[in-house]
Subunit: 380 residues, 2 copies
Amino acid sequence: MKKVFILGSTGSIGVNCLSVIENLSEDFEVVGLTVNSNTELLHEQVKKYNPKFVVVKDESASQNIKDKLPTECELLTSEKGLLKASSELDYDIFVGAMVGFAGLAPTIEAVKRGKRIALANKETLVVAGELVTNLCRENGSEILPVDSEHSAIYQCLIGENLNEVEKLVLTASGGPFWDKDKSFFENATVEEALDHPNWKMGSKITIDSATMINKGLEVIEAHWLFGLTVKKIDVVIHPQSIIHSMVQFVDGSIKAQLGLPDMKLPIQYALTFPKRVENNFGRTNLPSIGSLTFFEPDLNKFECLKLAFDALTEGGAAPCILNAANEVAVSKFLQKEIRFSHIPLLIKKALNSVENIFSQDLATIFECDRKTREYVQGLI
Amino acid sequence: MKKVFILGSTGSIGVNCLSVIENLSEDFEVVGLTVNSNTELLHEQVKKYNPKFVVVKDESASQNIKDKLPTECELLTSEKGLLKASSELDYDIFVGAMVGFAGLAPTIEAVKRGKRIALANKETLVVAGELVTNLCRENGSEILPVDSEHSAIYQCLIGENLNEVEKLVLTASGGPFWDKDKSFFENATVEEALDHPNWKMGSKITIDSATMINKGLEVIEAHWLFGLTVKKIDVVIHPQSIIHSMVQFVDGSIKAQLGLPDMKLPIQYALTFPKRVENNFGRTNLPSIGSLTFFEPDLNKFECLKLAFDALTEGGAAPCILNAANEVAVSKFLQKEIRFSHIPLLIKKALNSVENIFSQDLATIFECDRKTREYVQGLI
């Protein structure tokens, strides 16, 4: 029986992960759940999955559930509780499904214990890819990507030799705006940006998909996961989101992984790898889909994607600055305090102004993240 | 240095194979070539590749080259010479690139010696799949498929577990007639049938592509190569011939192999496997291709494809009967002695009339092949 600890159990990935585990209940059990503040859904999940511990990061929210937990379920709170759960409590698989920079520290604790990391939180690798991948090697911890793109690449690389990869091709739906004019971005509303054509996801990642920085973050993530230089990573727009990504080898052969846009598949794969387990998820019927189309992304229009490539090329903490500036900008956009077109402007200013550092020390990364947020807040 | 013996060196696969080996000249050398009767091209090839032996199957044609060969190059003739070369001469890789049933006996000799078989001659597995795959197991011989579809599946299965395959999906260009009305078949000309949209191949296989029996033969070949039942093998029409085939796993994940329609890629893979070797073959640019489309094949229209599924379901020598009847019918169609629409009629009659046998003895298979040809000849 594999014990699963899900960080961010009430988000889109967390909820899907629980539903996947229901189908795998002979081999997997939920032992721990964490939420930021959604104690209502957490309470439902506790009743259903009976975990041994839960963490509520927001201390005041934790009061809402304190008296509703079964006695055998331990309650931890705050960032400290989250780190304690990751570093001390009993689990086999760490599912990193929380959003943003907050995922980094607890993931590092799990890596240090040599756990399997099912990683949906791409920021962990974006801001501290070198540190985290080094720690993985040292501690025998294995990262199984949960992003559909990286899961696709992982699957295409099984049995292949990384030295024989010519390039990775990450596919991007292009989000709701891929075929809009750049002039449209000036007045794009929050509602329009949240209307993703294929994927039902949280609001942060949906906005990231509309600016296409999400694909940029994935390029950085792919760089660290698969150890390939930025020149060997391409992005292609594929609006149907059926081909989840591809690997082109030195002989010119391309392998692709396909499936419906349903996160349950990469989540299950990350849990059960190297096994594949039968399920009742929808199957892909290509004749009924009819046509798969492909376009070059316009980097002049999707400046955020270009900025991500630039940050990866620059190296050091540039991806950390990019990510922090983006997190602030997206949150301000969702609060309707800035325009959609301001997001790349703020990121660009941060990359130009916040001092880049080339140390992979965790404290330095935290400091760089903090400084960037402060800087971008000051611009608004 | 790997020594390569190419059976059928002047056909489309043979010529491509020689061009692939030029790019691999540090690790591969041509030691043997065989032709049916095209001694003119064989002579050019001998001058260029300097093989240690050649076989000319047509004895009278062999007279044309006899005095032109360098003294160190051995000349063998007739079926007997072909079998002698396969069973006695020195080589490491046997490239089965000849057309039709004629490929069976020499391939079996190579299998018995435990050689690597780069197999383009699908009839070998169609007519004697059980015998050949059993011999492979007994003699440690490995078949590397050269058909683009089977090479695609082979590549998609690397590192995967055959027990976790839900189905294979063979893609078919559909040939020149896939979107024509069935009524069109009545008067389809040889020239129209030979006008394949994507692949430049020999005339037999191009007609097989127009009737779609080629895909049916590939279904049978896939059954033997990968050990999956007929119910686990699907065909999808994909007119662009970019996705060469796919594997769907029990978790719903699909892996596909893509590339330009160029036989050099699967040929090289069959030679260099498990390595992939850099080359200057064209690369696939999906945005410039734009769109990949998919359709269900119409088995009512493409009766030959249905007959192949039926023959595989029936088992025994039914695929051998199907293949022999088709070889006669196609040759008669190419000679303009029968209509395009007669091809499935002749095959159906043969399947209904020639006695099926369930022994996997080579002599019995030969006898069944002979009887079928005689029967179909008698109908015309």
